[in-house]
Amino acid sequence: MQNIIELRNVNVIYEGERIPALYNITLDIMRGEFVAVIGPNGAGKTTLLETINGLLQCTSGIVKVFGKDVKKYGNEIRKRIGYVIQNFEIDPLDPFIAKDVAMMGRIGRLGLLRFPKSDDWKIVLDNLKILGVDALADRAIGKLSGGEFQKILIARALSQEPEILLLDEPLSNLDLDSRKRLCELLSDLHESRGLTTIMVSHDISYIPEICSRVIVLDKGRIVCEGGKEEVATLECVSRMLHKGVKHV
């Protein structure tokens, strides 16, 4: 399999901070892999995703995606990566229509001075349908519930027809049934399109069965990695993920 994401000794330190958000990360992800990243709050999961797509510049080390340096070719690379952002706050009065927000995912791919054509709209509407939110296509985005909005953001990322999909806690706002259906959809997309997927979660139980590798992050370091079953049984992982949670 071809190496699609490559991180070498990557450190990320936010401005004004001294403690790295990511510390000496070396990671290879192959084309078509489904990788889950788990860890407690503040482990560096979102930082890892945004370092991969270049929204955050690493302080030291090398990040290559599609064999190209993210620092140099950031915009070009990001056109081929779908990103579903975490905890996105939306103003109820926001003047944007759901289908237009989903179309925004294709804008980088379309390129400058090109306008969306009927084929582009078909892709967008198909993705809204796959996620079961096609009936909301003409609704104002601020009028949607958290879960509905989350699905629009996922449709937005899929409409980009990405080669890599980065999902930051994609199930967080969804009900149980929607979580199950989204996991099935992600598994289908992974199988049918060979979509390289990196999914961040703070809970190992949310990770789809199809996931080939689970990476455990804590305090910016990769603590361990392995198959889902293997990682789930590790006592240190269980302790880390449930740290601070009192079971009554």
Binding site: K79, I85, F96, D100, M104, I107, A140
Partner: protein, 274 residues
């Protein structure tokens, strides 16, 4: 009333329409990006520029434009590099520009010079000529062209800058261009409606459109139309009542905004469908 020469009537009316169109089109970006105070900053940079021009014995308008554009060129990179909120930087540069203006004017003896610099802040209908109209037309054309050609990129940035960047859009380039065009429009509109009041023309029509529509496409169409309507109505009020043009436009556009808040569908009570 209307006892002005026809030429002056037509030129000033066209000027009002163009100023309304360009300012309220840029307002779509300025209001959404929450950089409303950028208008204050640029108009006072223009004031400082005019004062500098008078001090040096050159055309005050030329230096007003140069100072305004200079601020626009500085604002974007400064807020990015310094990681400061753009409103903080605008607040600092705003007071700096006022201070510079008073220092420059201090070197020029006489009240007339101060009056000339202040006229940049207040504007006058009767100082506009055909050359100003041509420049204003060119700027308006550039603003509209920018909006039409890059509508999809701009709408994505205005929805969420981070997501737009994640889709591979060079957001910095677009934001800097918005600032540059705002500076250009503000400084060119100064002569007609004045630096202080051009700011209201950027904010009021767009804020009205934001009250009325949920669809960004409709906002991009109606904001310039409301801007033109505000300018024309303000123009008529000014001629009828002998009020200053800039002040009349602001009053009219503020009344339209207040009315839009009252009738806004965004605040309408929900009704049960039976």
């Amino acid at each position: 009333m209307f006892d002005l020469p026809l030429y002056l009537l037509i030129v000033s009316m066209v000027g009002a329409i163009l100023a309304g169109l360009s300012c309220s089109t840029l307002g779509i970006f300025v209001v959404r990006l929450n950089i409303v105070s950028v208008g204050y900053c640029m108009s006072h940079a223009a004031f400082a520029g005019a004062a500098f021009g008078i001090m040096m014995g050159y055309d005050p308008l030329l230096f007003a434009i140069l100072f305004s554009i200079g601020i626009a060129v500085l604002l974007g990179p400064l807020s990015d590099k310094a990681k400061l909120d753009s409103n903080v930087i605008i607040g600092v540069t705003f007071s700096l520009m006022i201070a510079l203006a008073f220092i420059f004017l201090n070197f020029v003896p006489g009240v007339a010079a101060t009056g000339a610099a202040l006229s940049i802040l207040w504007g006058s209908l009767f100082t506009i000529d055909i050359n100003d109209i041509l420049i204003l037309f060119l700027i308006t054309f550039l603003v509209l062209l920018f909006l039409i050609l890059f509508y999809k990129e701009l709408s994505a940035i205005l929805f969420n800058r981070k997501l737009a960047e994640a889709s591979g859009i060079n957001t910095k380039l677009f934001l800097y261009t918005i600032l540059f065009l705002t500076a250009l429009t503000v400084s060119v509109s100064l002569k007609l409606i004045g630096g202080l009041l051009v700011f209201a023309l950027i904010v009021n029509p767009t804020s009205t459109a934001y009250q009325l529509f949920f669809d960004f496409k409709k906002i991009t169409v109606f904001s310039p139309l409301i801007g033109i309507a505000s300018c024309l109505s303000g123009y008529v009020v000014s001629l009828e009542s002998d009020f200053p043009l800039g002040a009349s436009i602001v009053v009219v556009s503020s009344v339209i905004f207040a009315f839009s808040v009252i009738i806004s569908p965004k605040r309408r009570k929900g009704r049960l469908l039976l």
